[in-house]
Amino acid sequence: MAQLLEQFINGLVLGGIYALIAVGYTMVYGIIQLINFAHGEIFMFGAYLALMLITVFNIPFWIALPASMLLCALLGMLIDLVAYRPLRDAPRLSALITAIGISLVLQNLARMIWSARPRLFPTETLPAFLVSEVNMQTGEILNAIPLPGGGILPYRDVFILLLAVVLMIGLNRLIYLTKIGKAMRACAQNRVASNLMGIKTNQVIAVTFAIGSALGAIAGIMVGLSENITPTMGYYKGVAAFAAAVLGGIGNITGAMLGGIIIGLAEVFGAGYISSGYRLAIAYIIMIAVIVIRPSGLFGKSTGTRA
C-alpha cells in the first residue's frame, strides 16, 4: 500500500514534467499545425543553459531558473523566425522536415559545446530543501515528508508538482483571460481570418513559441534536479511528451496536461509492476488505444480538415 502511494507520487511528478513539455508541442500545433520536433531540444537547452549560468557564471539557482526560461523563450522565437516563418505558407511536410532538421542541429550543437558526458547540477548550488538524502546511520531522511506506511515524499517532488500546477493554471488564465490569449485562440481557429481582423499573427505565433519554450526550459531544469543532463535527454523525454500531447488531443492544452499525467503514471506503474523494458511501450499502447477509440485524442475536436 505504501509502495502504491509512492509509485503514484513518482508517476505524478514525472507526469507533471511531461505535461509541461507536452503543452509546448500542443500550443504550436494548435496555432500553426506544425509538430515542432525541435521542442525536445529546447527542453534540453533549458537544462544546459541553467547549468551554465549556475556553474560558469555563479548565478544563484533562483535567478538562473527564470533567466534560462527567458533565454529558451528567445531561442524558441529565433527558431520560429529563421526556420518556420519562411515556410508558413509552404506545404506542411516541408515545415515538418525542417523541424526534424532543427532538432538534429540543436542536439549536435549541444554535443559540440557541452560534450556527451552526462552532467548534473552540483548539489551545493541548489537550494537546500531541493536536496533530499537519507542519513545512513539513523535512516532519517532530510527534506522529505514521511508518508504513512514508511514511504517518503521529498520536498523537491512537492516543489515540482506545485510549480507544474501553478504554471498550468497561469497558462490557462493567460489563454482565456488576456488579450494575447484571445488572439492566440483566434489564430488557432483561423489564421487568415485573424490576420484580416487586424491581429498580427506572426507576433502571436512568436509569443506562442516563447511561452511553450519557457515551459519546456523549466521542465528541463526540473529533470536536471534528479536525473542527468545530456544532449539526448530532449529526445527521450520529448518522445514521451509528444505521446502525451497526442493522447490528450493535439492542439488542446487541457488535453496535453492530462495526457502528461496519464503517460507519467503509465510509465511508472509499468516499470514498477511489469517490466522496465516496456515502460515506453506501455505509454505508447495506452496512446494507441485512446487514438483507436477516439481518433482526435481525449479532448481533441474532430474537424475533418486537421489531424
Binding site: E6, M136, V268, S275, G277
Partner: protein, 399 residues
Amino acid sequence: MRNWLVGLLIVGFVSVLGCQPQDKKNTSTTQTTQKELKVAVAAPYTGGAAAFGEMIRRGAELKEKEINEAGGINGMKLTLLFEDDAGKGSEASLVAERIANNPQILAVVGHFNSDCSLAGQEIYDRAGIVELSPGSTAVEVCEGSPWTFRNLYHDGFQGKFIAHYLDNVLTGIESVAVFFDNDAYGRGLRNAFVAEAEKIGLTLVASEAYERDSTNFKAQLTSIKAKNPDAIFISGLYTEASLIVKQGREAGITAQFFGADGVDSPDFLTIAGSAAEGTYLTTPFTFGAGGAEAQQMAADFETLHGVAPDTWAALTYDAVGMIKEALEKTYNAEASIEDNRKAIREHLASLDTPEKGYEGITGLTYFDIKGDTVNKPAYVKIVKDGQFVAAEKQLSELK
C-alpha cells in the same frame, strides 16, 4: 533581409562542419614519411560510456608515446587509430567492418563494452584480425573465435567473487536485490552473481532490469525498497549506476550498494556526489596493488594528461604493450597483411603459461585456450570521502 539571414546561417554551419575533416586530412598526410605500423584502438569515445573511452585513449596515447620515443618497433613507428563505437553494438559492427577492411591495420585493441566486442567478434573472425579487449568481461566475448583475447578476468569469475564478498567479508548481509543493465554485460554478470548467491545461501529478494540511457529509476527503486534488501548489487555501467545510487538514497534506501567494474570510473563519483559514499565495487586492477612500474606509469600519465589514470587506462596501456611485443617479434614487411595479422594471433596464443606471459603494470597476463586471462585477481574498492580507496578487507584466495 530574412533570406540573407538564413543564407548567412547556412554558410556559417557549412563552414563549421567543413573544417574538421580537412584538418584530419592535413595531419595524416604529413606523417607518412616514416614506415608506420597501424593498430586500431576501438572504444566508446562518445555516448554514455565516454568517460571510459577517454581513459582508454589516454592510456593508449601514453604507451604509444613511450614506444615511439624509445625508437619505435624495430625502427618503425607505431600509429594508433582511435575508432569510436559509441558504446553501442550497432555502431561497433560498422567500426569493425571499417577496421577489418583497412589493409593497413594490423590488430585491434578493444572494444570496451561487451556488446561491442561481441558485435565485432564475428567480423574480426572472418577477416582474421586480433581483437584484444582491455575491458569486456562478458563470458561470451572469448567464446567462438580464436581471434579474441582479453587481459582481464571475465564475469563468470567476477559475479562469483561479488557473491562471496557480500556473504563472507561484509557482515549482516543476508538478502540481496539485483538491479541490472539489460545488455550482454549486465545480464551475464547478473546471471553469474545470482547462480553463486543462491548456491551459498544469500536470499535474492528482487531482480529488476533497466535499459541503457534510462535516467529515471524511481519506479524500480520503489519496488526494490519495498522488499527491504540488505544489499543492492548494480550490474551495469557508471552512468546509470551513479543515478541509481543517487535516486536510491533520495528515496530513503539505506541498503549497501555494490557495483562491479562497470562502475569503476571517476565520473561515478562526480555524478552521484555524496550518495556514492560507502559504495563497494570490484575492479580488475588498482594502482595501490601495482608495483613500481605501475606507480611510474601513473606519474607519467599525470604529467602527460594532467589527471590520474584509472583501471582502464592501465589495462589499455598493457594491451598496447602486448601488441607492440607481438609486432616486434613477428612483423615482416615482406609478408602480406593477412600473414602479419595471423602472426600476431599466433604470438598471443603462444603466451599460454605463466613463464611465457607478458609482464605488464597490471600484473602477469597469459591466456587459456579460449583467449581468456584466468590468473588475474579482482580487487575491491570503496568510496570514502569522495574518493575510490582499496577496501580494508580483500578476498584473494578465491580463484
